[in-house]
Amino acid sequence: MSSLLLLASAETPDLSMFDPVSPSAKSIRDLSILVMIITGLIFLVVEAVLCYCLLRFRRSTPGGNEPPQIYGSQPIEIAWSVAPALIVFMLVLITTRTLWEVNTDLPKPRADDRALFVTVVGHQWWWEYIYESHDGRKLGFTTSNELHIPVGDDTARPVYLTLKSSDVCHSFWVPRLAGKTDLIPGRTNHTWFQTARPGLYLGQCAEYCGCQHANMLIRVVAEPIEDFERWLDHQQQPAVVEADLHVAQGAFLSQSCINCHRVRGTTAAGTFGPDLTHLMSRQTLASGMIPNTPENLRAWLVNPQNIKAGCLMPAFGLNKHDLDQIVDYLLVLR
Amino acid sequence: MNNARLETIPANLIRSLPLPPPVALERGLSPAQWGMISFLVSEVALFSTLIVVYLTFRGSDLSGPTPAILSRTLVFCTTFCLIASSVTIHFAVKSLSCGERSAFLRWWTASILLGLVFLAGTAYEWRELIVIHDLTIGRNLFGSTYYTLVGFHALHVTAGVVLMLTVLGLTLNRLVSFSNRAGVALVSWYWHFVDCVWLVVFAVVYLA
């Protein structure tokens, strides 16, 4: 874990689509540069003609004879209709090529497919990740706001995301990994990416989804396969609590926390909010907004609205004792 | 000099100037006719959208009534009335163009009555749907789309009946006569359009 944090901090945050780390983002980048060169040339030519006209034909004083009136010319018109048409034809062709590279169909999980399948559910304003299968092994645990993926080494390790929404439209966008795909209630979409570079890849919801749209941040942690396997094993475990914290656990379970949150291995089985089973293994709170420190966790519990105004978790007005107990309990959910 | 007016040019020069070809008078539709046509085009867009919405949701309900509950017998009758009213309004306009006031009044009143029968039929149908089948606009998607589509059409029929009643009132007060035939014809265009839309709605909702 600590090596991972080091890795993450070494990488300066970068969301540029021109710095791709996955094949689909790379082919989009290449296409984009080509399109920008084409449009850039058109820009230069047309603006040059415009400037030439202005410099050459500008007269500072009105009056004088009218210039020759030219009503038009069919050959010229045809010429400058055909030329753009050819460019358009070329653009359609290169669009087709890249489109078929980028948008592929979702395969079915197979044994030893070296692929990770995750279902992503968008919520107002956080992400739920349901790990379906890896390498053909069924997983079936849920985590949130931090997507861990394995990096491929000699062979690729693709990640297939199935995208759903539980409320309004969202859009999954990690620019360095792939273009956007919307999460639309009542529909199932999918996207994919793969990378050979370990690191933290940032993104965020790109379809306006209400009040806290700006703070629906995505963190994708790409780690070497050993680290990833270790993380997987850990996440699949239910929450383990030492004996001396049973009172604290009781305090948590007696509050309304459990109506919305789940802690596997306890009676807390809510699904409206993020799964808390391994809360402290995540780097951030509030969907990537603030670092996951004990102080921040406490401040969040005191009043989430102070941190993420409008979010769907209300302030429960916990007394100091309950608050201490619950924080203590949550801190052991590693 | 750029703006030299014709009057400032010496007369002998004017004679040597090229003469423009004579202007032929254009014969086309009147502004009112173009206005009605473009209004009806926008109505086509309106009803197309409504029908697309209806078709989008057709058969997507998991609970509640389905189109199978609709009574075709009743609707066949009301549809017949609406088609008949298109025929009668056609004869009404024809009579007015011939200056036959009483014939116009007869045909026109018949059209209004047929329109009213249609509306009454719709009202009865809706009552049955609500009371017997418990199909309200909020019940399920069929209810939502059905009442919206048929309701928008019924609203147009109502508007048409109001228009025709207005014309009838004006005629009885001798404010509409042969000289107003163009305007009256426009009302009939609208009415024909509403009838045509109904045929499509009928096919989509009741026959499909």
Binding site: E77, L202, A214, A309 | N3
Partner: protein, 557 residues
């Protein structure tokens, strides 16, 4: 024929009672409410649009101040979301459309030699419906805050579950009512243009602006009704419990996107076609040359109007349509660039070999040419599906459509306003103020919207009320805000110039620009009846024929 009008213009324009000096405010108001004159209604449309422009501009400034620093706390998320919703709605529906419809209202009858629009009372109704729609929209502030679902209001954000206040109802009602007004305006334009042209003015001889207004009106006929239906569905969902967009009960979030963009994309062309028309009037006059390739320009306009009805889903590449559908919409969208290119080339060809005079209208027209080109080219980038998957809903898109709507629509409209102001008021605008306005706008505009493209490339999504430091976005957002501040004096100068020139401006005379279309054949401002005698027309440039009787246009058309 020409008697230069000396009296202050507003009084003149609103002259109703025999004695002009009795025009008190209440009398002016009375005339405004009662008038069915297309010129007065046109002026009212433009004034209304300018008022809403100021309101929408203030909203934009607040948005920019909030984004000046990362994690800025100037305004909260709810307010921010309300501001960009109102900004977008206001600018599209209550600035863009009314200002163009207003200018069209004023000019179309004059340009085709008619005494008024085909249906003057309907025309007045259209204006009042539009204004009432705007007031309904802003009435939401009285009922507890602005709607917060963005101007394209993606379902199910408009459902009662997600938008509890009445603001969304007022939004939908306001747009439906103003849409009804717009529709009547469209009907009116079609009837006027098709049936009320002066003798001899065949459809092949109408001024180019009139031609573009005709196609704008056609687009209005096709685009507004689907929006009306969709808005009705929102209102029914919220108030009668229907399930159109109620996803939990089988409704479709997807349907709204299709319906909205089926309206929304033609809407973009409703906002740009009349501007093409205005620029096509200004460039020839200030290049002293006839418009190059009128027929091809006309065909290109029709082509744009037709194609624009079939490209709507290029706003929806990321929603997961099939690749084939994506490709169709990409190809159709790219094809639009062909007729648009034809227009651009024809404008340049009109300037080429001319005698260009960079008076204020031409200055704005050239600004339009240079900037609209960029908006068009970024549009090509967005049409390319994979590129768009990165760019859509990012700040790049925000930069792109502002580039089109300000660099295109607004610059072109300002060209038109500077060009026809002398006709409307009888006075010239101050050229000095106009060039200040132009350069401040030009620089401010580029500084505002240029960096947005970069922020989009760097991964900044649109509609976020705040962002983290250190993502490389801070600098670009700060430049954007500075650019927005530079634009402010530009609009102030415009308003100042428009008002003070009413009495300070040089008397204009009938035809200060030596232009060639019919509106310049009558007095400035034109009398209520427009023309003493309806002129007979032989060519596209009747006043050219008049001033060049030896070499008239009709010989070449």
């Amino acid at each position: 024929m020409a008697v230069v009008e000396q009296e202050p213009v507003l009084l003149r324009a609103y002259q109703f009672t025999p004695e002009p000096d009795s025009a008190s405010w209440s009398a002016v108001l009375h005339i405004c409410v009662m008038t069915v004159d297309h010129k007065k209604i046109g002026i009212m449309y433009v004034i209304m649009a300018l008022v809403f422009l100021v309101i929408g501009g203030i909203e934009a400034l607040l948005i920019r101040f909030q984004l000046l620093f990362p994690r800025n706390n100037l305004i909260g998320p709810e307010t921010f979301n309300g501001l960009f919703t109102m900004h977008g709605t206001t600018m599209v529906f209550f600035v863009g459309m009314p200002i163009l419809i207003g200018i069209g209202n004023y000019l179309v009858p004059l340009m085709i030699g008619a005494r008024d629009m085909a249906f003057p009372r309907l025309n007045a109704f259209g204006f009042w419906a539009t204004l009432f729609g705007g007031l309904l929209l802003y009435f939401c502030f009285v009922t507890g805050g602005a709607p917060t679902m963005g101007w394209f209001a993606y379902a199910p954000l408009t459902e009662h579950t997600f938008a509890r206040s009445a603001a969304t109802d007022f939004w939908a009602l306001g747009l439906a009512v103003s849409g009804f007004g717009t529709l009547t305006a469209g009907i009116n334009f079609i009837a006027t243009i098709l049936a009320m042209r002066a003798p001899g003015m065949t459809l092949r001889k109408i001024p180019f602006f009139v031609w573009t207004m005709l196609w704008t009106a056609v687009l209005i006929l096709f685009a507004i009704p689907p929006l009306t239906v969709a808005l009705t569905m929102i209102l029914l969902d919220r108030n009668l419990g229907t399930h159109f967009f109620d996803v939990q009960n089988g409704g479709s979030a997807f349907l709204w996107q299709h319906l909205f963009w089926f309206f929304g994309h033609p809407e973009v062309y409703i906002l740009i076609l009349p501007v093409f028309g205005m620029v096509s009037e200004v460039i020839p006059v200030f290049s002293r040359k006839v418009l190059f390739g009128y027929e091809f320009m006309a065909a290109a306009t029709a082509a744009i109007a037709f194609i624009s009805l079939g490209v709507w889903a290029h706003h929806m590449y990321a929603v997961g349509m099939s690749r084939v559908v994506d490709l169709y919409f990409a190809a159709a969208s790219l094809v639009v660039s062909i007729p648009t290119g034809i227009k651009l080339f024809n404008w340049l060809a009109t300037m080429y070999g001319g005698r260009i005079i960079l008076a204020s209208p031409m200055l704005f027209a050239v600004g339009f040419l240079s900037m609209f080109l960029i908006g068009g080219l970024t549009g090509i980038m967005l049409a390319v599906v994979p590129f768009d998957l990165q760019l859509t809903d990012s700040y790049f898109v925000v930069g792109h459509f502002h580039w089109v709507l300000i660099g295109g629509t607004l610059f072109g409209t300002f060209a038109g306003i500077h060009y026809w102001y002398p006709k409307v008021t009888g006075r010239m605008l101050s050229e000095r103020l106009a060039s200040w306005q132009f350069w401040l706008l030009y620089v401010g505009f580029i500084l505002t919207f240029g960096p947005m493209h970069v922020a989009g490339f760097l991964g900044m999504p649109r509609r976020i009320y705040t962002y983290d430091a250190g993502l490389g976005w801070d600098f670009w957002n700060q430049v954007t805000t500075i650019g927005a501040i530079i634009q402010v004096p530009s609009y102030a100068i415009l308003v100042f110039n428009l008002i003070t020139s009413l009495w300070k401006g040089q008397p204009a005379g009938d035809n200060p620009w030596h232009a060639w279309t019919l509106e310049w054949a009558t007095t400035s401002p034109p009398p209520a009846y427009n023309f003493e005698t309806i002129p007979t027309v032989h060519s596209r440039r009747p006043l050219w024929d008049l001033s060049h009787p030896d070499d008239p246009d009709w010989k070449y058309e």
